[in-house]
Symmetry: C2
Subunit: 228 residues, 2 copies
């Protein structure tokens, strides 16, 4: 469903140019659970942002479900994101003056889901990530890990076809992290949710089927996870 | 140097009241390297914010170097922070439209350090965290882990007496994380830098002398780290 053909991403120009991605070839099938790993600055978030149609390659092609995204307009890309993708950002990107529940509801509002159904879906997914009792809190009234879980709930509430998660356990303690991984594993297994997850924690990558390792904007390694 | 006497922190009121900290007693001596661990929402950041004089207890006393901080004015607290404390926030808190180098320089400007000396100190500390070549980048042009390292450099540039770090390796890969811990360990050992570090990663806590475990706003455990 996700195909990178010689994708490069270059920021800046001339001497100041930064090659964030360097001719990446990558193919992810529906239902796969893939972990992206690699050193800080190696291109993981840049890769995920392009997969999520939040950014475009400088060169090469990115085909999503066979469609060449580099040929789509901004509106078409927005529609694609809305219907197929859930994104957990490395920095959460919650709306500040909006309650946790309203943050989670947002993608459903964009899809025109009626209020009663929105409430039910939101309540359910917030319970899945252990946020009962926090619905009315503003992000500033939540701990770092609670904010992270609001971001995860928001990405899952539309039951997207593809979940893109950028360091989803960075602020979670071990118990919460494994809890979340079991949830993602279950959604992947039972609903065929395709998951592309950036993580620097081997214990979390162990829940994936496959690990792709980045180094200096290139893919240095790509192999299945051997079940221990 | 850091003394909590029955410190409580309560947010909200009545039914909506959240007891973030529940009568905490804690004592940290100069030169100690202490890790604060515990589940998401257990009170770690709240505790660190009070230690850093960024927040005040609802009840109880916090003495810093024998001074009762609950008796200090806002200006006196600001001075205390400026002279003694370096703080790495869970969310980095970098200034958006300001380059990495200028972000790092900021505490030195507040201390009235002359420009030439500022440049030298900044260059040195940015090299210590592996950010050479990134000085002119804006936060938005940096990876998550690079932003985190700017935040760490900014906290260290004044060579504070006490470093307070809230999940400083949350966005760093394993190699960078251990590199940072070795740096902090060296500063603790060679300069007597007191370090209070929130982390949920046992591998990082292993660099500390002592681990304090939080649970539901209380201290559940407090013991030295046994050298493996
Ligand atoms: N807008 C930009 N302008 C210039 N350079 C950029 C920009 N965005 C990213 N970069 C650079 O591209 C490289 C890759 O960044 P990216 O965020 O993909 O790394 P990452 O692997 O996610 O790192 P981390 O693990 O630290 O989050 C980095 O060196 C970064 O500094
Ligand atoms: N301004 C606030 N209003 C209401 N509740 C708050 C506020 N700030 C924090 N809390 C609550 O206080 C509790 C402790 O928060 P704190 O940020 O200290 O947790 P933490 O241990 O740092 O968690 P994490 O590991 O997720 O960062 C949490 O349950 C949080 O929701
Ligand atoms: Mg990243
Ligand atoms: Mg916290």
């Amino acid at each position: 469903v996700i195909e990178f053909e010689q994708v490069s991403k270059i920021y800046g120009q001339a001497d100041a140019a930064v090659v964030a991605l360097d001719r990446i070839d990558l193919r992810i099938e529906p239902g796969e659970f893939v972990a992206l790993m690699g050193p800080s600055g190696s291109g993981k978030s840049t890769c995920l942002n392009i997969v999520g149609c939040l950014d475009a390659p400088s060169s090469g092609r990115y085909l999503f479900r066979g469609v060449d995204t580099t040929q789509l307009s901004r509106d078409q890309l927005a529609l694609l994101r809305r219907h197929y993708l859930g994104f957990v950002f490395q920095g959460f990107n919650l709306v500040a003056r909006t309650s946790a529940r309203e943050n989670v509801e947002l993608p459903l509002i964009y899809r025109g889901v009626p209020a009663a159904e929105r409430r039910a879906l939101t309540r359910q997914v917030m319970a899945e990530v252990g946020l009962e009792g926090r619905e009315r809190h503003l992000p500033s009234q939540l701990s770092g890990g609670q904010q992270q879980r609001v971001a995860i709930a928001r990405a899952l509430v539309t039951r997207p076809a593809v979940l893109l998660a950028d360091e989803p356990t960075g602020n979670l303690d071990s118990a919460r992290s494994h809890e979340l991984m079991r949830l993602l594993g279950a959604l992947n297994h039972s609903r065929g949710l395709t998951i592309v997850m950036v993580t620097h924690e081997p214990d979390m990558a162990a829940y994936a089927h496959r690990v792709v390792r980045f180094l200096d904007g290139r893919i240095a390694d790509d192999h299945p996870v051997t079940q221990a």
